[in-house]
């Protein structure tokens, strides 16, 4: 048996016998897809609860509430007119609430009959501007009040918008878009976290010194880890994919390009783990460093959230992270069937991997100085 094969087999035996390793490589991504699937595909009511205090005596307040309900974006909860709204918001920990003023109908009528009466008749929306529910309520209420304005003015809207799904993604559901992120994250965490701690353990237990007394070359040891993680992750992610398909009727496809990307990801993140391992002396330090590098990368690279919702400076950081390109490449090939785009992302991932591999090979020393 060659050094490479023997090292893959024996490293693999140890990895697979470690229950923690097996859990994170095989069980964790399956659990993740099931949990996220249950959250996003479970058929739950995704409407926003909108607490409305209608102080109006006339029909316009009721009409506004009816129109808001028709948008299907809200479940309207009536707040008694006797409540102090600010106390009510505080006591119920609300992020958004609406008040329709006392003379809402009469003020509208006054302005409709006499165009010289100044100002708008406002409904008040209380809320926390940092919360997305607040901006959703503002936007939807704006659209509803506009519609009422057109009705009161006797005009009909001419310009409108119509939403249509992109043809190539028509058959996909939310989880199809989410799966590539889970695959990218699993490739990153398993390769990076495991290799950082393997390097620290090998140094602490003098395994590197022992290896240095044998005929195995440093590059053979490095390559064997990359090959092992590629095989392991490919199998684990096929399982995740099959579970996702069976449970949530996912239609995205594990294309050959997806496997190439998984291999490139394993190469990049094992090399990155080895590079971090060069500077770490003990397994405790390895866990801390891998967490410090891996977790921000997980959240900033579009594994869980679209990059577009992030501030521009975070998007700039995401652009410097190899996991971003791995996630993008996987979405390109699995969801959009755009292997040209995937190839570009693959090139970036592979280039990062080569840089990490060369640096790790140069800087990692099995001997003492």
């Amino acid at each position: 048996m060659s050094h490479l094969t023997s090292d893959i087999v024996n490293f693999g035996k140890q990895y697979l016998r470690s229950k923690i390793g097996l859990f994170f490589a095989v069980i964790f991504p399956v659990l993740l897809i099931l949990v996220f699937g249950a959250i996003f595909m479970g058929g739950g009511d995704s409407k926003i609860n909108l607490h409305v205090q209608n102080l109006d005596q006339g029909p316009m307040g009721d009409m506004l509430i009816e129109n808001l309900t028709k948008t299907n974006a809200f479940t309207v909860i009536n707040v008694s007119a006797n409540e102090n709204i600010t106390e009510y918001i505080k006591n119920n920990s609300l992020t958004v609430a609406m008040v329709i003023p006392e003379n809402f109908t009469s003020d509208i009528m006054m302005r409709q009959m006499n165009a010289s009466v100044p100002g708008l008749v406002n409904v008040t929306i209380y809320g926390d501007p940092s919360k997305t529910t607040y901006s959703s309520v503002l936007g939807a209420t704006g659209a509803v009040t506009n519609g009422m304005n057109f009705g009161l003015a006797g005009a009909r809207p001419i310009v409108g918008t119509e939403g249509k799904q992109i043809a190539s993604t028509q058959k996909f559901n939310y989880m199809d878009f989410y799966l590539p992120g889970i695959i990218g994250m699993t490739v990153m965490t398993n390769s990076l976290f495991a290799m950082t701690s393997v390097c620290a353990e090998y140094r602490q237990r003098s395994y590197f010194k022992l290896l240095a007394t044998t005929n195995i070359k440093k590059w053979e040891w490095l390559v064997s880890k990359f090959v092992f993680y590629t095989i392991l992750l490919s199998l684990a992610l096929v399982l995740t994919y099959l579970v996702g398909r069976a449970a949530f009727d996912m239609q995205s496809v594990l294309t050959p390009m997806a496997f190439v990307l998984i291999a490139a990801g394993a190469f990049t993140f094992t090399s990155m783990g080895m590079l971090l391992g060069v500077f770490i002396k003990d397994p405790e330090g390895a866990a801390a460093v891998a967490n410090a590098v891996g977790f921000p990368m997980m959240f900033l690279s579009g594994s869980f959230f679209p990059l577009e919702i992030m501030p521009s400076y975070l998007q700039a950081i995401a652009g410097a992270l190899p996991l971003t390109y791995l996630n993008n490449g996987l979405r390109d090939t699995m969801v959009y069937f755009n292997d040209g785009g995937a190839l570009m992302n693959l090139a970036v991932v592979f280039a990062c991997g080569m840089i990490f591999f060369i640096l790790a090979s140069r800087l990692m020393s099995w001997k003492e100085k």
């Binding site: 090292d7 087999v9 024996n10 140890q14 237990r205 003098s206 022992l210 240095a212 044998t214 001997k367």
Partner: protein, 315 residues
């Protein structure tokens, strides 16, 4: 004169800014012998071993191992050398037979199941061969380490503190094993801070302190050279025995601990036989006669000025 397997000349290892871990040491190791480097923690033993294993570069000096210059040609002798590093821990999740098979492959050795069994048998781990290594005791783990270091059938074996931290029984088991390996013709370079271990196992001992070799030779020659004397105890000889010894011109004294005994101090080991013969030929009354020899421990105390416990010097 046995063939020289290791030849070290003026070896120096200097760590900036001012630590001389190995300070100009020279020694030879003959084929088929056990050479022990004895000294407290931090004496420079492991640094020396790791230089000779090709794992550290020296600051200056030269070293030939199995005829090769280790700084230029270590790759040529790699397969002829075995290594057990300090505080060896095996791969937790490999069984002993798997670890041996894996290690053999890294030396490009095709090893059969029979050969693996023979190796496991040689270190008395046959009943543990299918157990995960993490379940082995401390002594068994070291034995597995020795089995791994023997996988390439080395001519020279480096054992860096192989019994440190083990209980007395496990230590004695390993001593027997090391003796057997030596008897098969393997040269062994042993580092230890156990004086009894060095005395029991070694053909040659180098006492190392603060990076320097302060004494070197066989345990007997070191005791003779640096020890004060050997004592002949004449049990139950009493004052009558003391008088009789004076008559034949042998200087003696009453044992301060037990005044029924008489003690005869022999300064040189070479004088022992003649002195014993003179006592035997006289009519000194006694119940029993035996010798109390000084040990490496006394030599160490006399050279360093401190006792050593678990590698730490005690004032």
């Amino acid at each position: 004169m046995p063939e020289i397997v290791v030849e070290v000349e003026n070896l120096v290892k200097y760590y900036p800014p001012d630590v001389k871990a190995v300070d100009d040491i020279s020694f030879d190791i003959g084929s088929g012998t056990i050479f022990s480097m004895l000294g407290p923690n931090g004496a420079g033993k492991t640094t020396t071993v790791e230089i000779l294993e090709g794992l550290r570069n020296p600051t200056s000096g030269s070293a030939q191992v199995l005829g090769a210059d280790i700084f230029k040609d270590y790759s040529k002798i790699r397969k002829r050398v075995g290594t057990l590093p300090q505080n060896f821990e095996p791969f937790d999740l490999l069984k002993p037979w798997e670890a041996i098979s894996y290690w053999a492959s890294l030396y490009d050795i095709r090893i059969s199941k029979k050969e693996i069994d023979r190796l496991i048998e040689s270190v008395n781990l046959m009943d543990r061969k299918n157990l995960m290594s993490k379940k082995l005791s401390g002594g068994e783990k070291r034995k597995l380490g020795i089995a791994l270091s023997l996988v390439n059938n080395p001519e020279l074996l480096f054992l860096d503190e192989p019994t440190t931290g083990l209980d007395p029984k496990a230590r004695r088991d390993l001593w027997n094993l090391i003796d057997i390996i030596r008897d098969k013709g393997t040269t062994i370079f042993l580092t230890t801070h156990y004086l009894d271990e060095a005395e029991k196992l070694s053909n040659d001992v180098a006492i190392m302190h603060k990076g320097k070799i302060i004494a070197q030779g066989s345990p007997d020659s070191l005791v003779e050279k640096y020890g004060k004397s050997t004592i002949i105890v004449l049990e139950g000889a009493g004052k009558a025995g003391l008088a009789k010894l004076k008559e034949i011109g042998i200087s003696a004294s009453i044992d301060e601990i037990d005044d029924r005994n008489v003690l005869v101090e022999v300064k040189r080991h070479s004088e022992m036989k003649a002195t014993m013969a003179r006592i035997a030929n006289s009519d000194v009354p006694m119940n029993d006669i035996y010798t109390k020899r000084e040990s490496l421990e006394d030599v160490f105390l006399s050279l360093i000025g401190s006792k050593m416990e678990d590698g730490v010097l005690k004032e």
